[in-house]
């Protein structure tokens, strides 16, 4: 928060260069007018933040402490019933476990592949631009569109994957890529990696291109092998970009929804229900907004905690 300096103090100190008032004969008046103009330009942002961000944030807190059926609306406080209902649900802990498993799996595979892609296209070999565009192309699609695409691709009856495997004689019956809990999870991970690898490749590419050439040259002069260069130069200097990717990937995966809603609908046997899907089910299938709000607050708290820990961990690592 910025405190407005008293006029005398402002007159004694040179005016900050971002106020073009220095030529003016009535600086105080003009400065006030300039302050008001600044507030006017920021007003739409302030209204948006207040109405569509802060207000809902307060409301979700209140809802989580109230008996709030979807159709009847607010029926007064019932704390902490929504929270106990949410965590007592038989789906809660399986959903938490599944979401964590999915997050670890996606993060490892996705960032590994993205790093490989970034290394493949970083140099200005002929064709590097083409490969960059191709790898990124799936990223331009929406996640829901990509999920619908893979839903057809994975189809046991008309999808090309199952038919190809059959024709090659590798399997006798059509393969159901979404049929078992494990295959449904792996199929979804493959879809997400396909869709987002180019996105993380771009972030890592920015990091790679900021490593000065001289560092590599010096290492090569000293006779370092490619593996040594990668381990002791590329990886450490890429840390900021890797950290950003990690943060985005973990946060995004913990909030997974579209891909499971479209591809698996949480099945088979509720084995692929994520935490955000649980919020949706609670609100719009079990018609209980209060419990859904309590779940939302739990997710928010978990995410904030995770971000704080991740920041601390990164800062700690920076200091060492």
């Amino acid at each position: 928060m910025q405190v407005k300096a008293p006029d005398r103090a402002a007159a004694e100190h040179p005016v900050r260069p971002d106020t073009p008032d220095r030529r003016s004969r009535t600086p105080a008046l003009l400065r006030r007018s300039r302050t008001l103009q600044g507030m006017a330009y920021a007003a739409p942002t302030a209204v948006f933040v207040a109405v569509f961000f802060l207000l809902p944030l307060l409301l979700v807190g209140q809802m989580s402490l109230s008996d709030w059926p979807l159709l009847a609306g607010d029926r007064g406080g019932n704390a902490p019933e929504n929270y106990t209902d949410a965590t007592d649900s038989t789906l809660f802990w399986p959903a938490v476990r599944f979401t964590l498993l999915y997050t670890v799996l996606v993060t490892v595979v996705l960032l590994g592949l993205a790093l490989l892609l970034a290394l493949l296209v970083q140099e200005s070999r002929p064709g590097a631009g083409f490969f960059r565009t191709v790898y990124f192309l799936p990223g331009a699609l929406g996640l829901a569109s990509a999920s619908l695409l893979f839903w057809g691709l994975y189809s046991p009856s008309t999808g090309p994957l199952s038919r190809t495997l059959e024709r090659l004689g590798l399997v006798d019956d059509p393969v159901s890529f979404l049929g078992t809990p494990t295959s449904a999870l792996l199929s979804t991970v493959f879809l997400v990696v396909w869709k987002f690898a180019g996105f993380y490749m771009l972030i890592l590419l920015v990091g790679l291109q900021r490593i000065p050439h001289e560092v590599y040259e010096a290492a090569r002069m000293d006779g370092a092998s490619r593996g040594q260069i990668f381990r002791s130069i590329t990886l450490p200097l890429l840390r900021p970009s890797l950290a950003l990717s990690l943060l985005l990937c973990v946060t995004g995966s913990l909030l997974a929804f579209d891909q499971f809603f479209v591809l698996t609908k949480g099945g088979p046997d509720n084995s692929t229900v994520t935490v955000v899907q649980l919020i949706y089910r609670e609100a719009f299938q079990r018609l209980n907004l209060g419990t859904a709000a309590a779940l939302s607050i739990i997710v928010l708290a978990a995410l904030l905690l995770l971000n704080v820990l991740q920041f601390r961990g990164l800062r700690h690592a920076d200091d060492s």
Partner: protein
């Protein structure tokens, strides 16, 4: 690698690189190409029983409220979201970059804090809130929500765009008797145009593709944007699955995104650079 190796060895050394890069390119392209091909080709249980043609697209035209209706819904939502995002972040970016006023840093931090809060956490109360504002089940309400989710990136992007413009440019306009609004319109607007294009592109892609916000905020199938309509269409006609129409729907959804991305790739990548550098 680049020591005095003979040309032939170097060329051979590159071959595995192209094999890996090319193989991966095939994997990345295959789903897109297959889906496009499949949407035009014959499949049992679809409107395209034999040969190649537009049968699946005709199914899409006639589905429920009709493809044109859903395209219109998606276009309205995307246009409104882009317009709102551009308008709010242009003025906000100007204010944050060039003015001093009480609460400036707090407001900027709060805008960025939108990123810290999960999408789903906000959508449950927004569903109730839009109902109170009589914006439930409305494309305008949906656009307002989508624009809000765009604000952190857009405001950040516009702030650094304005900060990159030399101050002298604006000051000379002010001395010439323009107000700040005149300086913004005549001098600054052209200077921050690349930033606006980047912000607009991101806002369009997000609004066009969003799934969970319309799923929660729009209950009337007449008002569904295209992604929601295509997802609903899958279980049409007594539980039978129409893969062909879904594939056609994916093509209609994907084409504008792919075209815009290919046309504006430079602006897209710039958005990344700024985020990745400052993030």
């Amino acid at each position: 690698m680049r020591r005095d190796t003979p040309v032939l060895t170097r060329a051979l050394g590159r071959t595995p690189h192209y094999v890996v890069a090319g193989g991966l390119a095939v994997i990345f392209l295959f789903p897109l190409l297959w889906n496009t091909w499949a949407s035009f080709s014959a499949q049992p249980g679809t409107a395209q029983e034999s040969g190649y043609g537009f049968g699946n697209y005709r199914t899409l035209l006639d589905y429920d409220a009709g493809l044109w209706r859903y395209l219109l819904n998606s276009t309205v939502v995307s246009a409104l979201t882009v317009a709102l995002t551009l308008g709010v972040s242009l003025l906000g970016g100007y204010a944050f970059a060039r003015f001093r006023f009480p609460g400036k840093n707090l407001l900027f931090l709060l805008t960025l804090a939108i990123l810290m809060v999960p999408y789903a956490t906000l959508l449950i109360p927004l569903y109730v809130l839009l109902g109170r504002l009589h914006l439930q089940n409305s494309l305008i309400g949906l656009s307002l929500v989508l624009a809000m989710f765009q604000l952190p990136f857009a405001t950040f992007m516009m702030r650094i765009s304005f900060e990159a413009v030399p101050r002298e440019l604006e000051e000379s306009a002010l001395v010439d008797g323009c107000g700040t609004a005149g300086a913004l319109r005549r001098v600054l607007l052209p200077a921050v145009r690349p930033g606006l294009i980047t912000v607009g592109l991101f806002a369009f892609l997000a609004a066009w593709n969003d799934f969970i916000a319309p799923l929660i905020l729009i209950s009337d199938s007449e008002k569904a944007p295209l992604p929601l309509a295509v997802a609903n269409l899958r279980q049409q006609s007594m539980g039978a699955v129409d893969y062909g129409a879904t594939e056609a729907g994916v093509v209609v959804l994907a084409v504008p995104c792919l075209l815009l991305f290919l046309l504006l790739q430079r602006h897209y990548v710039r958005g990344f650079m700024s985020g990745a550098l400052k993030g």
